[in-house]
Symmetry: C2
Subunit: 347 residues, 2 copies
């Protein structure tokens, strides 16, 4: 049998001091400890391979040095979320800076329980990603003043949140299409409109058209849902609804499917129709044609959420809302409309 893990008492015995002294040395309260003693303690600890017992420390000290990431996403969403890995990386990096770890909890969008993470003291705070408006748990923990950061946004709930500026991003994408000369511009959403990100992006699309005095008919807008399959179907419906110069697809993954549908219908991108995506997933640049899209700073998003949460745990304060900027990445899936191409050739 292995010797049981060493405790601070073992270190104390070995160094010939009290447990209190060990605690002082190892936690930097060295003010009153002589250098010689301090060194003895440090040596003893390292010889024994001493690691403080996190739960005991938490019990005594109160903080778990852990934050939770709650993913309120259905399986299809998670699988399709090409940026989750990056967001997670950003969040763990931010957490580590403050000495925190990250617990990940994937819950079903409805009825998933996660508040226990907080109430049981396993985590000091939570980043909640993509909750529904009617999330029952969220209101409870917010009104109990637990530190929570929303990744995404939820109208009508006054919580600290971090999100990307979906509206401005979408608007920029559509303005790009308009500036190329397109007028009949369709829109395929990234998700049902109950998801705020989806409705915000749609909003940006509408704003850009309005500004250009273009009135979109209702059948210019089709809802898709997360995966390429749904994008394929959505584009098929759009094609059935009429002719388009361009389509703004509010998700690269969905755009993959949409472009597949165009290919199947014999339309060429961008010669016959221009496509702008959203997210800039790693493969967007390698699609045929390379996809013009709106870059969503996934790592930064995770990092910002983690930082905001850790910050909030340290010094509670009023809710703050952070919006990260997106960036339009122009590749080859957008170009001038066919008519203007012809005009240019005729010229």
């Amino acid at each position: 049998m292995l010797p049981r893990r060493p405790t601070s008492a073992d270190v104390a015995a070995r160094a010939g001091v009290s447990r209190t002294t060990v605690s002082f040395v190892l936690n930097g309260r060295d003010g009153a400890i002589s250098p010689a003693t301090r060194q003895r303690v440090i040596d003893a600890a390292s010889q024994l391979g001493y690691h403080p017992h996190a739960p005991a420390r938490q019990l005594a000290g109160g903080s778990s040095q852990t934050i939770g990431l709650v993913l309120c996403q259905s399986p299809e969403q998670v699988a399709g979320d090409a940026l989750l890995a990056d967001t997670l990386r950003g969040m763990t990096a931010a957490a580590r800076l403050a000495g925190f770890r990250v617990i990940v909890e994937a819950v079903e969008p409805k009825g998933g329980r996660y508040a226990d993470l907080l109430r049981s003291g396993r985590t000091d705070g939570l980043v909640v990603s993509g909750p529904r408006v009617d999330d029952p748990e969220l209101r409870g923990i917010v009104s109990d003043r637990f530190p929570v950061v929303l990744q995404g946004s939820l109208p009508g709930l006054d919580v600290t949140s971090v999100d990307v500026d979906n509206r401005a991003g979408a608007r920029g994408a559509v303005e790009h299409l308009i500036s190329l000369g397109h007028r009949r511009i369709g829109c395929i959403t990234n998700a049902p409109l109950a998801y705020t990100a989806a409705s915000e992006r749609l909003d940006g699309y509408r704003a850009a058209l309005r500004e250009a005095n273009i009135e979109p008919s209702p059948d210019w807008i089709v809802e898709a849902a997360f995966d390429a399959q749904s994008g394929h179907r959505a584009m098929a419906r759009l094609l059935a609804a009429g002719e388009f110069d361009a389509v703004f697809v509010a998700s690269d993954v969905v755009a993959f499917g949409a472009i597949g549908a165009l290919r199947a219908a014999g339309r060429r991108v961008p010669d016959d129709i221009s496509i702008v995506g959203f997210d800039d997933i790693p493969l967007a640049a390698f699609l045929d044609p390379p996809l013009t899209t709106v870059r969503l700073p996934a790592y930064e998003l995770g990092h910002a959420a983690g930082t905001a949460l850790v910050d909030r745990i340290g010094h509670p304060g009023p809710p703050r809302r952070t919006l990260l900027a997106t960036e339009l990445v122009v590749r080859s899936s957008t170009g001038p409309p066919r008519s203007s191409t012809i005009a240019r050739h005729a010229h």
Copy 2:
């Protein structure tokens, strides 16, 4: 100020019993508790909104009910890992079945520290994903008998591991090419060969060729590294090395880049050259052409790793090695070689 969180003593007082009784009721040791008392305790707990303090429970009981997932991956790898989300989902699901949570720790491949998660008692076990052969931490925690499950495999280390059968999967993919009539079959690896998954897949490729009495020249094999960009470069090198009927690309993401290079060189897939990928990422079916690939059961992999670890925490035993089967998914990026097509036309 909010009232502080209720403790089991508060519940005991409210129910008019001792703390011990509360503990017995709430932990199912009801054998000696009368139904009336038991109900009083349960009511009191729910009225107070009592949640046991996890760290205190762990300190008393010994188990953290938490497992760790350690990702030994560089940023590019993580970003490119389209299946990570699914694997993570599988692992958290497996953990939840046993009442465990999951802490995720992303560490740099070299020098990243994660053993502290175990030594500090924050987790009861670790799933280590993709460590290097020379990982310094791993040997330590293994020889200290901590419960560890390797996701992937590491020759020469006797640890419980869960992996996909890379060799058989690659072999099946190449056999598929051979059965179509291809002979000159190149290979682009998914990663440097220091990664066992990469060398195993290469092994499978070699085995299939050997069985068909094909001797690959060294310049049929080119190393890539995780992302599409590297696949693009690798394919360019392959094209410079000679003509090929087909190429086995040991990663779908890399294959995306490789196909891009073929397109740039004016070769058509599968008419001029067939391509088989590996992983079956969600977008593989939506590539142009839809990619024939080897399905890697990501969710199941995570689930198996989680289950194996939890199992091992419960009842330690000798290391076990689990290999999950892959499945060849034939789509449209593979077809008969040009010569045979011509032959068929001539016929």
